[in-house]
């Protein structure tokens, strides 16, 4: 029987996920000889065996790979045979370029969970159990190649038992870098309590607020159903209304609080374990202060052994929210900032190297991309001729490094005007450059001159700067998310973005590809009296749109109504804006839903929650010359309100009318351009009622619709769009 030999090079997320033992099992099962090992580029494999078995190996390799592995590429070359022998796992090689990828942090796997609750297991109730299929990764990695010495586990030398598992290729913990046990690993602490876990559970049961160290930072926790705990947490954290996430023990508890459909169940139980936004049940058993004025709850299942222990011992859902004061980033090195917020701190001695928030998803779409996703690469629809850094936007900032056809999007960073967040941004960029061996030659940034991300870019030496218009970046982000390059009709609806004409854009119809865009249409501009103050106070947008309106909103704000109208008329700090977000604000204020907000997008979110999804008609709006007249919608809304029409119906008609006008604009644009694909991007598209109505309308009209899945439609996706545009603009196009 003739034997053949093959050399394989596998790149992608193939280290720290049990890939080599998997290859070992697969190869020995097929009676192949050879070896497998890690290097800085990924995994190298040499195999030799019968033609048939080698072929089967090549077919099975990607198909049966471990759950956490993500194979980007397998290069196969023929090589000479060396004669039969065994198959071995060899030690790591340290040469080559850095193509090996650091895995994301993943939820405790089923095997570890069994051990956690098995009284006969040596890791019974040990809060740090993990293996090659689960546990901390990105948040503890200091440098590459990924091995224990370069993680925050370096300070915990393995005991004999752990080392035996770690060096046994047939063991689930073979080269599980963060592996540990009660004898050698991290320990919990709660003050000087002898039983930190029991103490924490008792305090939570008693209605106290606890700070709990997690994977990417500290959380604040309180019993979700307790009559006062959540509101105490709210006032201490200084967070007025923004909903808290809730951690439930299992799917059964989840289903008691929310309607969990198939997608929701998959998201809740997947290894990324994000916060999943779900429709709450009418009498969901959580205190009112958990998520006021919204019809949704953000649920998550336990994702660390510590969570599993806490939730199981407690037996009921807890609020689990980022450990910070409002506007600050999540605390991760120590809990000093939380001393006045929490009654006690449940902590441990495994350091967190990179602050990472929980991810948030809804209906299969990522709304905040962080833990469980970062730093997994996103494939770009084109190659970058030069390494790229994209600096993102200002709030909900993320940055993005790209090389070849891979984009490494940072986890959610947050509001850059906060100094500590800004430090996360600059340190995060340096860390990513090191991890992925990328030295950017091209740096993309927003057009807004005052964004701190723009300032950062401008301060870099020896790089080529690419300024990208905000809404072009949104559409490019949606294109990249869908693996496309355009051209498309792009509908970019968000809060605000710097327009090159000096006005504030935010309700834009672009004809765009990655190389450029034409602003083909937009919402009719109105003044934004007070600039950012108009964002914080939606009633100002009601005054800007309808200065003479005779509704309660004008009476409620009577003292400031006339001056704000005058500011709008006389252009005193009242830039013009075509923002769709501000149109929603005006509608929400006119309907008495909200005059002032305490978190981003609050007015629009609460307006959507009020809308009756079964109402199918909508207000008409003129779209002459592709200028969508938002005022038409508001005037119809006011007429209905005067006529005493139900608020839920009015809110729905407003949504429907705007959606219908958007579809009409797209239809007009198709006539002009012949383009049949529409990309929907910008934070406004996190409004599911509006998104669904627009998508349905476009589909009915035969359009192909691109929406976000892997990156957020909001400004968290901007950096990916900037990177794709920068890659395209630095690509030499043959004449």
């Amino acid at each position: 029987m003739s034997r053949v030999g093959r050399d394989l090079r596998v790149t992608g997320v193939v280290q720290g996920v049990g890939f080599r033992p998997y290859v070992h099992r697969l190869a020995t099962g097929l009676r192949l000889s050879g070896r497998v090992g890690n290097d800085v580029a990924g995994v190298f494999i040499e195999i030799e065996g019968t033609h048939e078995n080698v072929a089967e190996f090549l077919a099975a390799l990607p198909r049966d790979a471990p759950p956490l592995a993500r194979i980007e590429r397998v290069e196969v070359t023929a090589c000479t045979t060396r004669g039969a022998g065994g198959f071995e796992i060899v030690t790591s090689r340290g040469d080559g370029t850095r193509d090996a990828l650091v895995p994301a942090d993943f939820a405790t796997c089923a095997d570890c969970l069994r051990e956690l609750f098995d009284p006969s297991d040596r890791r019974h109730r040990y809060p740090f159990v993990n293996c090659t299929h689960c546990g901390p990764r990105f948040t503890i990695v200091r440098d590459v190649p990924y091995d224990r010495m370069r993680t925050t586990m370096a300070g915990f030398p393995m005991c004999t038992a752990c080392r035996a598992e770690y060096t046994d290729p047939s063991d689930r913990r073979f080269h599980a870098e963060p592996t540990c046990c009660p004898a050698c690993g991290p320990r919990l602490a709660l003050g000087d309590s002898a039983d930190p876990l029991g103490d924490a559970v008792a305090r939570l049961a008693d209605g106290q607020v606890l700070a709990i160290k997690g994977l990417g930072g500290f959380h604040l926790a309180a019993l979700a159903a307790h009559p006062t705990a959540a509101s105490v947490l709210r006032s201490r954290k200084r967070r007025a209304d923004k909903p808290f996430a809730v951690m439930v023990t299992d799917l059964r508890q989840a289903a008691a609080l929310c309607e969990v459909d198939e997608t929701g169940e998959r998201e809740l139980t997947g290894h990324r374990r994000p916060i999943v936004l779900l429709p709450r049940r009418p009498h969901a058993g959580v205190a009112a202060a958990v998520a006021p004025a919204t019809g949704e709850l953000g649920l998550m299942l336990p994702y660390t052994p510590l969570h599993h222990l806490l939730l199981r011992d407690l037996g009921e859902p807890i609020v689990l929210t980022s450990g910070n004061l409002s506007d600050e980033p999540i605390a991760y090195r120590d809990a000093d900032r939380l001393i006045d917020v929490a009654d006690a701190v449940l902590t441990h001695d495994r350091p967190i190297h990179v602050r990472t928030d929980d991810s948030v998803v809804r209906g299969g779409t990522v709304l905040r991309r962080a833990r469980g996703h970062a730093p997994e690469p996103i494939g770009l629809p084109l190659r970058c001729p030069e390494p790229v850094l994209a600096c993102g936007a200002e709030l909900k900032n993320t940055f993005c490094l790209a090389r070849d056809s891979q984009a490494f999007l940072s986890p959610h960073i947050g509001d850059l005007t906060d100094h500590e967040t800004h430090t996360s941004f600059t340190e995060g960029i340096a860390h990513f450059q090191r991890l992925f061996g990328i030295t950017p030659r091209v740096v993309a940034h927003d057009l807004h001159p005052d964004y701190l991300s723009t300032r950062y870019a401008a301060g870099l030496d020896g790089v080529e700067l690419v300024a990208v218009q905000h809404h072009h970046a949104h559409i490019a982000s949606c294109l990249a998310d869908n693996g496309e390059t355009g051209p498309v009709i792009g509908v970019a609806f968000d809060g605000t973005g710097f327009g090159p004409d000096g006005t504030v854009w935010g309700g834009e119809f672009l004809v765009a590809d990655l190389a450029g865009y034409v602003r083909a249409g937009h919402l009719r501009p109105v003044p934004m009296p007070g600039g950012d103050a108009a964002v914080r106070q939606p009633w100002r947008m009601a005054a800007a749109y309808l200065p003479d309106v005779d509704l309660p909103v004008a009476q409620r704000n009577a003292a400031r109504w006339a001056p704000v109208v005058a500011m709008a008329r006389n252009a005193v700090n009242a830039p013009l804006t075509s923002s769709a977000g501000r149109l929603f604000d005006a509608a929400a204020a006119l309907l008495d839903v909200r005059d002032e907000i305490t978190y981003e997008g609050q007015a629009a979110i609460e307006l959507e929650q009020r809308a009756d999804p079964s109402t199918s008609d909508g207000y008409p709006a003129a779209v002459d010359d592709l200028v969508l007249c938002g005022e038409d919608l508001l005037r119809a809304l006011v007429a209905d309100r005067r006529a005493g029409v139900d608020l839920a119906v009015i809110a729905a008609r407003f949504h429907n009318g705007l959606a219908d006008a958007v579809v009409a604009c797209c239809a007009r644009l198709r006539e002009d351009t012949g383009l049949n694909a529409v990309a929907l991007s910008g934070g406004v598209f996190q409004n599911s009622l509006l998104s669904r109505r627009i998508s349905d309308g476009l589909h009915r009209n035969g359009f192909r619709v691109l929406t976000h899945r892997r990156v957020p439609a909001n400004d968290g996706g901007i950096s990916l769009g900037q990177a794709a545009i920068a890659a395209r603009l630095t690509t030499a196009v043959p004449a």
Binding site: P563, A566, M567
Partner: protein
């Protein structure tokens, strides 16, 4: 050209065009006033052009500003103001009565500051080519004190002092300009600062630098300082004096008082040990009644101004490129 609200755009313009063209050792520091040695005397010279709409506003007019602005640039440079020049660019048809009012108030302001207007110039431009009246003043003063003042003397640990409540002038102008129908007793803070500066220098030889907080306000002055001295400045929001009327109007206008122009306030950086006596001396003077320590100079992050908010967060207080534009997406 983006018009200069005293922000980054203006600064870039000055550095790229004027400093490039005129570069010399006296100009280089781009201070408010130039220090010259002529024979045995040390002389300070400065110039400033004044464009303001409206020309007349509560608490003053363009004439007041033109005198006080130049007097103050000399005073914060450590010089005693002596002589002024005055140049006028008038739009054809500008009422003589208005010109009389402006000149009369210049005379009053000069008397109050103890300076003489010793030479001048007038040009008339076509109707529609000017906003009624522009004024330029230059000033000459004598440097009487041996103190060396300037950003390069600033050290981490120094106290940052403001001589009084901020934002009065800019908010007054915005209210006067906007026809907003807001009832307010607010007046511009326009005033000559030489006397107040002298009172400060007398008790606090540890003054490192002073700047009047005109265009771009206190935030812009401190950003320039942070960059020039390669230090950080950390402000305590609660400590910054702002009149309630100014705070209220600024909130309505959507403007941060830290970026609003003053015409009678200065920022001083003082050796920490003398901060107490410095504030005391300022408060003893009618123009400095609400003087306060508003922050400290630090080492890192070099070049940044940070604001510790009442909520306990720390915000970056950067220079704005031009007019503030919304950033919340």
């Amino acid at each position: 050209l983006a018009h200069g609200a005293g922000g980054k755009a203006t600064q870039t313009l000055v550095e790229a065009v004027f400093l490039e063209a005129f570069r010399n050792p006296v100009l280089e520091p781009l201070d408010d006033a130039a220090a010259l040695e002529i024979g045995l005397s040390r002389v300070a010279v400065t110039t400033d052009s004044f464009v303001v709409t409206p020309l007349f506003f509560p608490g003053g007019d363009i004439g007041h500003l033109a005198v006080n602005g130049t007097v103050n640039d000399l005073a914060v440079s450590g010089a005693r103001p002596l002589y002024l020049t005055a140049g006028f660019i008038l739009e054809e048809g500008f009422p003589v009565a208005d010109l009389m009012r402006i000149v009369t108030s210049m005379r009053e302001a000069a008397d109050a500051a103890g300076v003489h207007v010793v030479t001048g110039d007038t040009k008339v431009v076509q109707r529609g080519k000017g906003d009624g009246c522009y004024v330029n003043t230059s000033g000459i003063g004598v440097v009487e004190h041996a103190w060396r003042l300037g950003a390069h003397h600033v050290r981490p640990g120094d106290a940052v002092i403001v001589s009084g409540p901020i934002g009065d002038h800019g908010i007054t102008i915005m209210l006067a300009r906007g026809d907003l129908g807001i009832e307010s007793d607010l007046e511009s803070d326009t005033a000559p600062l030489h006397d107040l500066v002298a009172a400060l220098l007398e008790v606090a030889p540890g003054v490192r630098m002073m700047r009047d907080a005109t265009r771009g306000g206190v935030a812009t002055v401190l950003n320039e300082l942070a960059r020039a001295a390669e230090v950080s400045v950390v402000l305590e929001e609660d400590a910054i004096p702002v009149r309630p009327e100014v705070r209220g109007a600024a909130e309505l206008l959507g403007i941060d008082p830290l970026y609003v122009a003053c015409e009678g306030r200065f920022v001083a950086v003082v050796e920490e040990a003398q901060a107490g006596q410095a504030v005391e001396a300022l408060r003893a003077h009618p123009l400095g009644a609400q003087a306060a320590v508003i922050g400290r100079v630090g080492e890192a992050p070099a070049g940044l101004v940070l604001l510790k908010t009442a909520f306990g967060g720390t915000r970056i207080c950067d220079v704005l490129v031009g007019d503030p534009l919304p950033r919340i997406c």
